[in-house]
Amino acid sequence: MKVIAAMSGGVDSAVAAARAVAEGHEVIGVHLALSSNPQKYRSGARGCCTVEDSHDARRAADVIGIPFYIWDMAEEFHEGVVENFISEYAAGRTPNPCLRCNEKIKFAAVLDRARAMGFDGVVTGHYARTRESSIGKTLHRAIDNSKDQSYVLSVLTVEQIQGAIFPLGDTHKVDIRKEAAERGLFVANKPDSHDICFVPSGDNAGWLRDRLGSEVGPIVDQSGKTLGEHRGAYTYTIGQRKGLGLTVPSEDGSPRFVLKIEPKSNTVVVGAREELAVNYIQGENPVWCGPAATSQETRGYVQIRAHGEALGCTYSYRDNFLDVNLDAPLFGLATGQAAVIYDDDRVVGSATICLTR
């Protein structure tokens, strides 16, 4: 096949591109420039898309022996990912920008462009697997559970999965680093990137405060009694315990957790852990990675964080909403996160959490 390999400048995408070549594909390396004003250097594990990263990607392409280009996706990334991240937080929800990036950029803008240019698909260094089965090409977890990225790929449609190639899903990360060294890729020991790439400082709260302001608001208990104040409700996450700065102890002395964020009144509601218990999740705007779920109650697993646990559940889909009943209660679940449904290791689909109880 003729494919585009998305190369971030990291070790995973470099090995993915090299493996695609080894499998006999005709590969062209593309580095996505996602910031119109990139930093020169990468500081440790934080951030990506620096000038240094684009250089590393180019050198990896040289070593692999494939053509290399840079595609400017800064505008698309800003609109589809960064602005979405800000507006979701402003609305009191907790978004996952990596998932949005896969949905709007890597497997939309890039894949569409690649297909229009006559390519068959896009190769990335994601840890996930695809498989041909009776229901078509399906998306599965990687064998390295600690690196599995199927969660952030759960927004891919059947058509997008068709054009996606994940050469790393059957290998553990340590072996990828070894392979990179054997292939002469000097990014073999480059640190993994963590956190959110467009917040290079790693200080999400500070980054959001710069963009959304830091209007002081109350921290209240469930009866509405003010216990303290905060500087920007959006910097809190449901289930958060630390950093509340409350001086008034609870009646029974037990710790308090963030239960609710009310962006309109700029209020953070806190309470006991039990109040966080969620037994039911409703999701909207579902994307199916294979056949859509039906109104029939089905056994499966749900995951609500990128590296969270898969929880036993019963799910069904009707009237555009995904209903998930959990086998055991879950604590600290924010709306805006993605609920990803698995059938064993196969990704069934995902939906954005809009309601919990």
Partner: protein
């Protein structure tokens, strides 16, 4: 590299001796340097002593613009005049003079044809001629191939006794170029555009004119440029210059015909394309706008088909930026980003042109589909 340049380079590699040394080996390489200087002087119609070897065209431009400015700048005279379509090798030193030497910089606008607006310059010289330290306008534009009215510019500048520098990197060896006839104060040329090695250029600077240096040291080149002379590259530069001069007219004639063929074929294949730059043109440069495309997509598709073409310039991260030259000619950012430059040389043939034109329909339609 052309064969003569390769030979000259290889010959020098067997030689011993720094041309600044006084012993017999030094004298031998010095002789080669001076013969090279004379060959280049013949190719560009200047005196040998007017040739200052530099490490690149960029260095020659920096030396000329900064040196000529420093030579005359004072409290009242502090204005640097360049054009909107200069190469970054003039744009950026001018910006540096603004940032670090508090110079005022005015960029001459261009007409839709891509030629400098002479009326603007005339008015500027009448109104503020006594404030101008230097005027620098390129001989022909590297992106559109439009030849600039340098002789006219010199006439205007001479009236107010303003030195003129001309970046002739793109013209040298391709069209007749005479330092003497142009009457400019300084002229930049480079080897890599004429089949010589990369990393060697020259500043042609009027005899007897001493300007402050950028690089200080052994004073090898008229005290204006220090550093051990790069004899192998200098010898190869001279060989390439002689080669270019030997058949310049026939080659220009041949390449012009290829250009006409290319443009006619391109127009027939893509009727709505726009040809950028009119008036007098270099024979080997064709700049086209393909509405509804993005030039980096075009470049990838042509590259994959074995055709090397070029977008404007890229930023430090490698992202293609809209050409400031096309923007100065009145293009919008979108149409500037839909443009591509093709270069032809005398080593190309009619069948090369036909091969490229045959790719146009499929490449352009794919690029249009990919422009989501």
């Amino acid at each position: 590299m052309v064969a003569a340049a390769k030979r000259a380079l290889a010959d020098q590699m067997d030689k011993l001796g720094n041309p600044s040394s006084l012993h017999m080996y030094g004298r031998a390489t010095r002789k080669d340097v001076e013969e090279s200087r004379e060959a280049i002087a013949r190719a560009v119609a200047c005196r040998p002593s007017e040739v200052i070897f530099t490490g690149s065209g960029t260095e020659a431009n920096n030396t000329a613009l900064k040196g000529l400015h420093w030579l005359r700048a004072n409290e009242k005279r502090n204005l640097v005049v360049i054009s909107e379509i200069e190469h970054h090798a003039i744009f950026d030193p001018a910006q540096w003079l603004a940032d670090y030497e508090k110079a005022e910089v005015i960029k001459l606008p261009v007409l839709a044809s891509g030629e400098i607006d002479l009326a603007f310059l005339r008015k500027l010289v009448v109104e503020r001629g006594n404030e101008i330290t230097v005027i620098s306008v390129m001989h022909s534009n590297n992106e559109t191939g439009t030849i600039q009215p340098v002789a006219e510019i010199v006439k205007i500048a001479n009236g107010a006794q303003i030195p003129v520098h001309c970046d002739a990197v793109q013209s040298f060896g391709k069209i007749p170029l005479s330092f003497k006839d142009l009457g400019v104060t300084a002229l930049t040329i480079s080897a890599h555009k004429i089949g010589g090695p990369m990393g060697i250029g020259a500043l042609i600077l009027q005899h007897g004119l001493e300007i402050p240096a950028l690089i200080h040291g052994g004073g090898q080149e008229r005290e204006i440029r220090s550093g051990t002379l790069n004899t192998p590259s200098i010898a190869a530069f001279a060989a390439a210059a002689s080669n270019a001069a030997s058949a310049q007219a026939e080659r220009a004639n041949f390449v012009s015909k290829l250009r006409e063929l290319f443009i006619a074929g391109a127009k027939a294949a893509i009727p709505d394309l726009i040809i950028n730059g009119s008036g007098e043109q270099l024979p080997g440069i064709i700049n086209l706008t393909f509405p509804g495309t993005e030039s980096d997509t075009l470049l990838l598709l042509f590259d994959a088909a074995g055709v090397a073409c070029s977008t404007g310039s890229a930023c430090s991260a490698g992202v293609h930026e809209p050409s400031h030259v096309l923007m100065a000619m009145g293009h919008s950012q979108v149409s500037a980003q839909s443009s591509l430059r093709f270069s032809l040389s005398y080593l190309n043939s009619e069948s090369d042109v036909a091969e490229v034109i045959a790719l146009f329909p499929s490449v352009i339609s794919r690029a249009r589909a990919a422009n989501l």
